[in-house]
């Protein structure tokens, strides 16, 4: 693995160029979110004191400011409100055009604006059902003591229910 123009970085991992979040416990206190994703679950944090379920998950309740948070499962299917198809300018890391996004009503919990994968151009329409789709992304070579350990990672999009 080489980095053209910067020979000293050959083989080095650069967090400042990483598309995806850090998911190990050493670098992220909401790391269970990603472990749940690996089980096909979409979770967030619920405040045990006031019942708020903020998304993204977090360590501080934004409503009552408690730090007494627990994990809760959210629905993994939703309904498409509307969609967009990016045909020019798809950013590096997101495959070939079109890059499809949809406003998805997650059964009243939240309205997500998310990427829709496994979906051909012109396939999606308002009212369609979509479901959580979890996929592997590049692992992070993380220093643990004197060793370098490959930290596995996943991320999520949604896909049409067929």
């Amino acid at each position: 693995m080489t980095t053209p123009g910067i020979s000293v970085l050959d083989g080095k991992y650069m967090v400042t160029m990483d598309l995806f979040p850090q998911q190990s416990k050493e670098f992220n206190q909401v790391h269970p979110f990603y472990a749940f994703l690996q089980e096909g679950r979409l979770c967030t944090t619920r405040c045990k004191d006031c019942g708020a379920e903020p998304f993204p998950p977090r360590v501080l309740c934004p409503d009552c400011y408690s730090t007494n948070m627990e994990w809760v499962d959210w629905p993994t299917t939703g309904t498409v409100i509307d969609f967009t198809e990016e045909v020019v300018g798809v950013p590096l890391g997101f495959g070939k055009a079109p890059l499809v996004h949809a406003l998805v009503d997650l059964q009243g919990k939240k309205t997500f604006f998310v990427r829709i994968i496994n979906c051909a151009a012109g396939e999606l329409k308002p009212g369609d059902q979509v479901k959580l789709a979890v996929f592997d992304v590049d692992s992070v070579p993380q220093e643990v003591g004197r060793d370098v350990v490959e930290m596995q990672r996943v991320f999520y999009a949604f896909e049409p229910v067929k």
Partner: protein, 391 residues
């Protein structure tokens, strides 16, 4: 101590896909500023605020303000710091300079903003835009670059209010016509309605001319207490009357509404209240036309027309010369381009010129002017109101 504050001069580097570095553009902007205020000895500037969003990513430089001070030949002694709020960095820095001078913590402050966004390989700036939204949540959905976001805004506005593609095109034609008369603008040629309507598809319904470009360049202004301003310029004084900035959410999942920008309504009403004006009093406006649909919603949520009527409002020419509120008279983001930290400064310069009466394309008898930026995933809104008289 509560003092009146004036914007007394401004200048820009050439904007566009530029040869040169970030520090080169800051020097060019400073030279243009010094030419605009010949009575000002730069050594008398006591404060510097620098607005730059991507300085770490595309110029690999933090601690930017002392570097800019060294290059533009000033020695700050009241404030010397950088301000970042992505597309609203420049306006944020003007707000802070206003507060420092008003409260007596500074007397004469340079506010400079700019970026070198294009790097030897062009993909990098687009990749770096992952840092502009919530990196951990919206970024990995492919939402670092904004066109899909504003396409969804446009689709929803069309669905809810009947806004048409031709309404969007009116904005492109107007702002490109204005930038063609602005020698510092990225785009020096006008476009016709036919060209705009035939523009290549980016994300439906947005086509090429609906989207502002990525831009290299810088701009700088000087703010001073009224007392100092009287010594430093013979031109008509332009006052900062009132400002506000509001944010209600950051991640897309927490947007209160896609078609009514609630944080803009809050920022606008707070700025109007502090400036002691109403929307009807505004004679000229620079609003954040990152995409054509943005300018239409801004006309509504700034209170220049009724909600949902932004499309017909712009189509009737109400945001053009001779209309209700001439908007983006220097070309806006669509025509001048958008070096993130520079944009709010450019807007301040154009409003200052309109109120002084020496704009390239002058709005007759303008006495109250407004600037607006949105930033991030439509996550913060910034409104500044300037006037020929104090609030």
């Amino acid at each position: 101590m509560d003092r009146n504050v004036c914007i007394i001069g401004g200048g820009m580097s050439q904007w566009g896909v530029r040869d040169g570095s970030q520090r080169d553009f800051f020097q060019e902007a400073a030279r243009a500023l010094y030419d605009d205020v010949p009575q000002l000895n730069p050594k008398d500037i006591d404060g510097l605020l620098v607005a730059s969003a991507y300085t770490e990513r595309t110029s690999y430089q933090t601690h930017l303000a002392p570097l800019v001070a060294e290059y533009v030949g000033i020695k700050p002694r009241s404030i010397c710091a950088r301000v970042e709020l992505l597309c609203a960095s420049g306006s944020s820095a003007i707000i802070l300079a206003f507060g420092l001078i008003k409260s007596g913590q500074a007397d004469i402050v340079m506010v400079a903003g700019g970026e070198k966004l294009y790097t030897p390989q062009k993909w990098e700036v687009f990749y770096s835009e992952l840092a502009s939204v919530d990196h951990d949540w919206d970024g990995p959905q492919g939402l670092g670059l904004p066109p899909p976001v504003f396409a969804m805004v446009a689709k929803q506005h069309m669905k809810q209010y009947g806004t048409k593609k031709e309404h969007l095109a009116t904005i492109s034609v107007k702002n490109r016509r204005n930038s063609a008369k602005n020698p510092k603008a990225q785009f020096q040629t006008p476009v016709t309605m036919e060209e705009v309507m035939a523009g290549r598809m980016i994300v439906a319904p947005l086509t090429l001319y609906d989207c502002c470009p990525i831009t290299d360049g810088a701009a700088a202004v000087v703010l001073a207490s009224e007392e100092k301003a009287r010594d430093l310029t013979d031109k008509p004084l332009v006052y900062l009357r009132g400002t506000a900035q509001a944010s209600l959410n950051n991640m897309s999942a927490n947007m209160p509404s896609w078609t009514t920008w609630e944080a803009l309504k809050i920022a606008a009403s707070e700025a109007y209240r502090k400036a002691k004006v109403e929307p009807k009093d505004v004679n000229v406006a620079m609003t954040h036309d990152c995409f054509t649909i943005s300018e239409i919603i801004e006309m509504e949520d700034l209170g220049f027309c009724k909600k949902g009527e932004g499309g017909p409002f712009v189509a009737e020419g109400q945001s053009d010369f001779g209309g209700r509120v001439p908007t983006n008279t220097d070309g806006g983001l669509l025509g001048c381009g958008h070096p993130f930290g520079g944009t709010g400064i450019r807007q301040g310069i154009e409003v200052m010129r309109q109120l002084r009466g020496d704009a390239v394309q002058q709005v007759p008898d303008a006495t109250v002017g407004l600037t607006h930026n949105l930033s991030g995933f439509i996550a913060a809104h910034t409104v500044l109101i300037y006037g020929r008289e104090v609030a």
